[in-house]
Amino acid sequence: MSSSQGPATTTAGFDSPGEDQLLPQLVAHLREHRARLRHEWSERIQQAGLLHAMTPQEMAAETTSVYDNYVEVLETGSVEALQRYARDLSERIIPRGVETHEVVGIVLLLRDVLARSLFEKYQRDFGLLNRVLDAYEPAANRIANTVAVSFVEERERVIRQQQDALRELSTPVLPVRERLLILPIIGVLDSERARQLTEQLLTGIRTHRARVVVVDITGVPEVDESVANHLVQTVDASRLMGASVIITGLSPKIAQTLVTIGVDLSKMDTIGDLQGGLEEAERLLGYTTSRDDGTGGP
């Protein structure tokens, strides 16, 4: 390309604004054309098919706040308020199923809409346009970054919260008799949950001074090899702490999986159902149960 326009930093005349004047001028421009630019942006969002989880009214309200926040960050250079707003917004829209790509998408659209308007305004003076963009682009990128990070952080926080809630719910340790614990496990056992199970089982043995533990996995749809091995290790570790573990409720599918993948189950004590497991546990502990219906009795 030989038709060069010369260096971007053309000598600034007296009528040309100084570097510190560029941003305020830019901000004034964006404030002045707020309604038009915001409208343009909303249309681009609709065209891109983003944010259909929101009603038009909500969209209008949110786009206005985002726009104002955006301009404010350009003006002040401080992203703290924006961060707060973005986190707050994320909290509201995450439960509605708004995705990360949508949030990033709308912020990038706004960046583009505003950049276009700058092109339009400064098209006569290429050197000035370059300097305006020099000031605008880093700030705009920082905003996009901040919003995306805030959104993802908020989402991770929600996920963590839910994981904690699940963890607390997932593996209750129930003392049924002195020295006898039951752990009913419902739902998919992944390695993380298997690890928690081990932890709760082993500490449960210590706090309840359990000698027998019945782990009922009737509610577990399937296990993979690593989880199966983890279960075997848990049984071994329990034995080291002086407790026997009885596994009950192995579904036909899980039983077949375990045999097929060749997990060493010789040391595992398994019984068909929870009832049988409890009876065996009581036998191990020396309990005898009898029904008081007049026919039986000690």
């Binding site: 932890e199 080291l240 702490m241 407790a243």
Partner: protein, 134 residues
Amino acid sequence: MTGPRLVSILRQGPYLIASIHTALDDSQMTAFQHDLVDRIGRDRARGVVIDVAALDVLDSFATRTLRTIGEVARLRGAVTVVVGIQPEVAFTMVALGMDTGSLHTALDLEEGLALLDRAVGPRRPVTALRGGAA
């Protein structure tokens, strides 16, 4: 052993109770093994409880030594039970694939003594029988 006691071996009826108070290095562990095996013969012990509740790690050497003690003790007529293995220790041992062999384990001292009672008969030394008790 000089200095503060790392291990104490106490006699309780027909049983010996060995408590490890602090982490032992390999040579201390070996010394412990010799002391304990010695005492089994001298005290004619029928059972041994080894309490490791104070340890927050049991390495492979310690595990192997405990297993050896168990086997040697059996040859000398005593049943060995290791008690007080902490949850984290237990899981680490299993995860690292340490083989405890035929070693008996129990939750704590009380459980360990109960296990010995079941394994070798109730705690009734011969002298007590002569005295006419129970």
